[in-house]
Symmetry: C2
Subunit: 265 residues, 2 copies
């Protein structure tokens, strides 16, 4: 990606993220379909003007509130989430005092190992160098407390076939509130059927995951993770008991549609 | 891609195309960014309902008319175009009696060779087995007449840096009308600046290529190539001297926007 070296390129931010994905692919962290999925996200982000819209800001605040109020929150990582937002999502887990779990659709021992190793290395890094500015407390201890799960899947998500149901009983299975960025539709549905509070980040407001989630943040994951961290550090309000997720999806669609109307006429 | 084996899957067609791209990537025909670009296209096609809209049908008819009326038409192939639509685009070249040229953004000797070899093999195949149903005439001779250019870039497209300007003097440089599916924005602009008639296939109506082209077909390439072939075989009208490409782009945007309005409210 020779473009990415040039910060004056109009698509510099987008190209940097693309580069993160390409590096993760070379490191064996991604399935074949991961780059295609990232491209789909790029297109929807393009229609959002590559910025956090009001719908996304409101949904991120609600995600923060629900994670903070949860009994057993957890953050689920797939390959793209690790590639794009490992540091900020691990910081969120440290602030929340919750575990994270690697949870991938095309599960192989090699990919699991690559992802777990990368998360462990990033946690070590942020423990010493990555304290959020506004955080007060024992940051190293908070980081040490973050369990990185996924290596020992001793449970199954009901309703899913094969090893894509695999998860840990003390991790995803035990969680009441789960943040699953970039989740597959089938698995999102299975988690909702378990009556968990399922918080999704998905740039396509029309995807099955987006439509089935309890809360959907229609935003690019690196922006969302940074906003989530800032909100968790600053402190959240309580969950909104009347949360209207369909309204939030329509607001995101309206943002995208606004760019399209009367563009050329 | 274990999904792709199941024709009952709601996204079967999309998954089959994805598989073509993944196979081409394994065969060394694609740059790293090709899968991401394909994903962007998937998202826009999703918003089109994965069908050829009126805007695309009109634009494809205009592309056929301009290619048929050209002095020196040519069809340019990049990696994704080879992966997705080699057969139908080669058939179009045979019907038109025009050359094709491999013309890639991230040019390496290995990728050029893989793409040229694949096109030669597909031309051989369609010469014996791939005659369009409605075609009459000497199909084998028509196929033999299709020159596959790109191996000996002895010319440059003015205004482009490095080897992405490379092309053949008897190919792209000599063409008055060029079909460049899935073209990069910079190269599209450079071709337009040469006062060529530039015919683009691009699922993003807001891309630089889409906005700068003489005619933009906002459609998925395999559908477009099949429609183009059918139109060329059936016979075309003359070019539309008052062609309104901005109107055609707005019509495609309106198709996408229609899906978004009042989806959830």
């Amino acid at each position: 990606m020779d473009h990415a070296a040039d910060p004056s390129h109009p698509r510099y931010d987008s190209l940097l993220k693309r580069q993160l994905l390409e590096e993760a692919a070379k490191a064996g962290m991604l399935a074949d379909s991961a780059l295609i999925a990232h491209g789909r996200g790029e297109a929807f982000d393009y229609l959002l003007g590559e910025r956090t819209c009001l719908s996304a800001a409101l949904a991120t605040a609600e995600v923060a509130a629900r994670l903070a109020a949860a009994q057993n929150p957890i953050i689920s990582f797939n390959g793209n989430a690790v590639a794009l937002a490992a540091d900020d999502l691990l910081r969120c887990a440290a602030v929340l005092g919750c575990p994270v779990e690697v949870n991938i659709f095309y599960r192989t021992a090699e990919r699991m190992q690559a992802l777990l190793d990368h998360l462990r290395a990033r946690l070590e890094f942020i423990s010493t160098e990555g304290k959020p500015d506004a955080w007060s407390g024992d940051w190293a201890a908070a980081c040490t407390g973050v369990k990185i799960l996924g290596a020992n899947p001793n449970g199954k998500i009901p309703g899913l076939k094969g090893n894509r149901a695999n998860c840990e009983t003390n991790g995803i299975l035990a969680a009441d509130v789960i943040l699953v960025p970039l989740e597959d539709g089938d698995r999102c549905e299975a988690l909702v059927n378990m009556e968990k509070d399922v918080l999704v980040v998905d740039l396509n407001p029309l995807s099955r995951s987006a439509m089935m989630a309890s809360v959907t943040v229609v935003d690019e994951l690196t922006r969302m993770a940074a906003n989530l961290l800032a909100t968790l550090v600053a402190g959240t309000g309580g969950p909104d008991l009347g949360w209207d997720n369909r309204g939030i999806l329509q607001a995101a669609l309206d943002e995208m549609g606004g760019l399209m109307r009367s563009k050329f006429s």
